[in-house]
């Protein structure tokens, strides 16, 4: 028997803890005496279990991406994990600022600097799981990025942001465009990200400066690098905050 809309709403409200005492009593009676209703409750329980499962897997993948970064950053003992990126970026910004200021004879040097400092941002947005047979179109795009197939990744990310703009996707699309030599498209991606979102904005500034460098716009590259150089690395500000509380 097909469940009624009212029953579905009742079940949803139960799992969202939105039932009044009266509704809860009615709910319990129905579970006790109505097998179809009980099955409906069981289905909802399983669905929520599947959602929680996905959440746990997503966070597990996130922890694994941090672990990979810690391994990768072992030659950088100053910081580890996801935060290590900021230290790496900060150190690179300083080095690049020096290079841009003192060693800039022409376009060729810009390209060399770009080559020396640009590494595509890792997919920490939606890391994919090896051997996962539940592959959606979206997962395939992220896998293309991880597999360095930037042509497919860019096309896929472009399609995604046409449906809904997301900061993480803009960052990876910008990186894909940079890898494909499309500096201006990449700049557009990073500028949109910086203008509209708070997430990934520091990373976007870093890659925007590199894309300016790549396209020969030294003035704008320098401007953003100076701005980045003045920011505080996240751990430093957090340590100060904690110190104030301890004192």
């Amino acid at each position: 028997m097909k469940p009624t809309e009212n029953d579905i709403t009742l079940v949803e409200k139960y799992f969202d803890s939105e039932l009044s005492a009266e509704e809860l009593s009615y709910f319990n009676t129905r579970v006790e005496h109505d097998e179809n209703f009980k099955a409906l409750v069981q289905r909802e329980k399983i669905i929520i279990g599947a959602i929680r499962n996905q959440g746990l897997i997503d966070n597990l993948l996130y922890l694994k991406s941090i672990e990979e970064k810690i391994q990768g950053d072992q030659s950088f003992p100053v910081a580890s994990g996801i935060k290590g990126w900021y230290y790496y970026a900060a150190a690179a910004v300083i080095a690049l600022l020096v290079a841009v200021t003192f060693l800039l004879p022409g376009q060729e040097s810009n390209d060399e600097l770009f080559m020396a400092y640009f590494t595509p941002y890792p997919n920490v947005v939606e890391p994919t799981l090896r051997g996962n047979d539940l592959r959606t179109d979206r997962t395939k795009v992220f896998q293309a990025y991880e597999n360095k197939d930037y042509q497919s990744a860019a096309a896929g990310f472009e399609a995604m942001i046409n449906i809904k703009e997301e900061p993480g996707i803009l960052l990876l699309l910008g990186n894909s465009n940079l890898m494909l030599g499309k500096s201006e498209e990449a700049q557009e991606n990073f500028i949109t990200l910086i203008r509209n979102y708070d997430d990934f904005d520091l990373q976007a500034k870093w890659f925007l400066s590199l894309s300016y460098l790549k396209s020969g716009d030294t003035e704008n590259a320098r401007k953003i690098l100076e701005e980045l150089g003045e920011t505080e690395v996240s751990y430093a500000s957090r340590a100060k905050e904690l110190l104030e509380k301890v004192d």
Binding site: D16, K45, I47, I51, N53, I66, I70, K83, R138
Partner: protein
């Protein structure tokens, strides 16, 4: 000076209202000490130790999000080591030595074994498949609600909806779509399912 207990509880509060950033912070904070301890105590490899540590952090995070852990009388470190110890002992129970863990399988079992769950494994697998088909932004929205336990105001902010009412409507629509997908999956696989369980 703030007491140790207050600091521990502030950490819990930060995780409760936070997300992956806070998860990452905790992971990094206790990683070295935990790995040093578990590899020595249970004679396991560094990779096995990392598998246990990742699950430990996930359980800690989940307990906070579910409201099971509201405040600590000991330290976060003691709590994490306690979870790690249970996981390691459980792992060694059958073989009497440490065996590599299948984390995905472990997570599935963790959910199935939750109190009052009695989840049918076959339908659970189909629901997971249906969830994959649901796509974004629905997946993220319902994950924020049912896994991260975020309220509609927090979801509105995280996903840039117009207001909490819009977020709530969207969540109901996503759930309706997901139920339909689950029913379709169940229908498609009805020959291999035990209908009694459903």
């Amino acid at each position: 000076m703030i007491s140790g207990e207050a600091i521990q509880n502030e950490i819990i509060q930060k995780i409760r209202s936070g997300g992956q950033t806070e998860l990452g912070m905790i992971y990094e904070e206790y990683r070295t000490e935990f790995l040093h301890w578990i590899t020595k105590e249970y004679d396991c490899s560094m990779d096995d130790g990392k598998d246990i540590y990742q699950l430990t952090i996930l359980i800690f995070y989940d307990n906070i999000k579910k409201g099971k852990l509201e405040h600590l009388v000991s330290s976060v470190k003691t709590y994490l080591f306690g979870i790690g110890k249970n996981l390691a002992k459980d792992n060694m129970r059958k073989e009497k030595k440490f065996v590599p863990m299948n984390q995905e399988k472990w997570i599935k079992q963790y959910l199935i074994d939750e109190p009052d769950q009695q989840i049918d494994e076959n339908i659970f697998a189909l629901a997971r498949r249906a969830l994959e088909q649901l796509g974004q932004p629905c997946q993220r929205l319902i994950e924020l609600f049912y896994y991260e336990n975020k309220n509609m105001t927090e979801i509105t902010e995280a996903m840039q909806y117009k207001n909490p009412e819009t977020a709530k409507n969207q969540k109901c629509k996503c759930m309706a779509r997901l139920r339909k997908l689950v029913d379709e999956e169940i229908k498609k696989n009805s020959n291999i399912l035990n209908h009694e369980a459903y």
